[in-house]
Amino acid sequence: MANIAHAAPDGAPRRDFLKLVTGAFAAVGVGAIAWPFIASLQPAKDTLALANTDVDLAPITEGQAITVMWRGKPVFVRNRTAKEIQEARAVPTNSLPDPATDQSRVQKDQWLILVGICTHLGCVPTGQRTTDARGDYGGWFCPCHGSHYDTSGRIRKGPAPRNLDVPQYAFTSDTKVRIG
């Protein structure tokens, strides 16, 4: 039939422009549909609003550590002994895989507050209890792939690329700290 002769997939050139515009419009529309779906996978507003956790430091004696939850992650709060602080500060920073001074990682010398997640692949290092394995440097040891952290939470040995992260926090009183 004559009326289907031009119906080849190539199409006749005279209707190309109109088709192009329409096709572009439709493509924009289909692309825009993806936005709400992808957005919905991002953290919801209430999740983002749960920003902070209060910690009471009073019951933590020297040498002890506690773990608290913050944004679904463990946060280590350690009351360091004078020896641990001294060890952390004695190391020359330029010899470290991820150089940082101990002073830059604490607000009060005694209190070390860290996100308790190994920067290698996300396991939780051991060392919170005095009976735990603390690795070669007296801080924390990640049993998954053998990363050793020192008493400032800095990576000293093993595959982890960075020091343990320090969360945002502020002392609300002498014995209270708000993380986040």
């Binding site: 009326n3 031009h6 209707r15 109109l18 088709k19 515009v21 329409t22 419009f25 439709a26 529309g29 209430d46 609003a49 749960l50 920003a51 902070n52 209060d54 009471d56 019951p59």
Partner: protein, 255 residues
């Protein structure tokens, strides 16, 4: 008006007889309060909604919870971060358990949900003659007539007509289905003092709190309508284009 024509359109689309049967019975027609958000492109009157929050906080919240709304949501009504933090801190929120396993109270934070007046449904019922006051989070979506109904209800208290037998503890309200409502007239003139100097008449407070509750039930309304306009304009253009393409494709078909 526009809203009505929309309803008519939607009605026709939905096989005209599909109109959902709303509240049964022959309750008095609810007057149209002409809220700022009624019109098709209407938005919330922020000042009114803020006053409405004050009415809720100082009057309604003694009995009614709003468990789905957080203090942080008040930012959408135009309050600043600091104002929201100050409001939240006025409330003692139960948190816990702490390290000793005890629940404890602490000042509220913006991320907290509105504090509930009663610990649970049973406590709420026990304190209110056996019937728990309903949560107000989605109240305007949960009642036929929405905000218009709430405004009418809050201003609809009057003496029962002669011969109407009112049960003990019930109150006569001409807009409540069945007319006998457990809640006593909640608003009295000058019950709250508005910071912006608006006179706190019952009508004014009812209007403001209805606006606030409408916002609480549909916080997405403004965004929804704005996006809807854009999408419909886009689709209208696309409809014209596809129709033109269709005409061209079919131009030489004898049919």
């Amino acid at each position: 008006m526009l809203r009505n024509s929309f309803k008519a359109l939607a009605l026709a689309i939905s096989l005209f007889a599909a109109a959902p049967a709303h509240a049964a019975g022959e309750a008095i027609a609810i007057p149209d309060a002409k809220f700022s958000f009624d019109r098709m492109f209407g938005t919330y009157d922020r000042a009114s909604a803020q006053r409405g929050f004050q009415v809720y906080k100082e009057v309604c919240s003694a009995c009614h919870s709003m468990r789905l709304v957080s203090y942080r949501n008040l930012r959408e009504l135009g309050l600043t971060e600091a104002q929201v933090e100050a409001i939240a801190a006025q409330f003692q929120i139960v948190d816990g358990p702490n390290d000793e396993g005890q629940m404890f109270e602490r000042p509220g934070r913006p991320s907290d949900r509105f504090r509930r007046p009663f610990a649970n449904e049973a406590a709420a019922a026990a304190a209110n003659n056996g019937k728990a006051p309903p949560d107000l989070s989605v109240m305007t979506k949960a009642r036929a007539g929405g905000a218009n109904y709430l405004l009418a209800l809050l201003t609809g208290y009057e003496d029962p007509p002669p011969g109407f037998v009112l049960a003990d503890g019930a109150h006569y309200n001409k807009y409540f289905p069945g007319y006998a409502i457990a809640m006593g007239a909640p608003l009295n003139p000058d019950q709250v003092e508005f910071a912006d100097g608006t006179s706190a008449t019952v009508e004014q407070m009812a209007r403001d709190v209805s606006t606030f509750l409408q916002w609480a039930a549909e916080p997405e309304l403004e965004q929804r309508r704005a996006l809807g306009v854009k999408i419909i304009i886009f689709l209208t253009i696309l409809a014209g284009l596809t129709y033109a393409v269709k005409r061209k494709v079919w131009a030489d078909v004898e049919h």
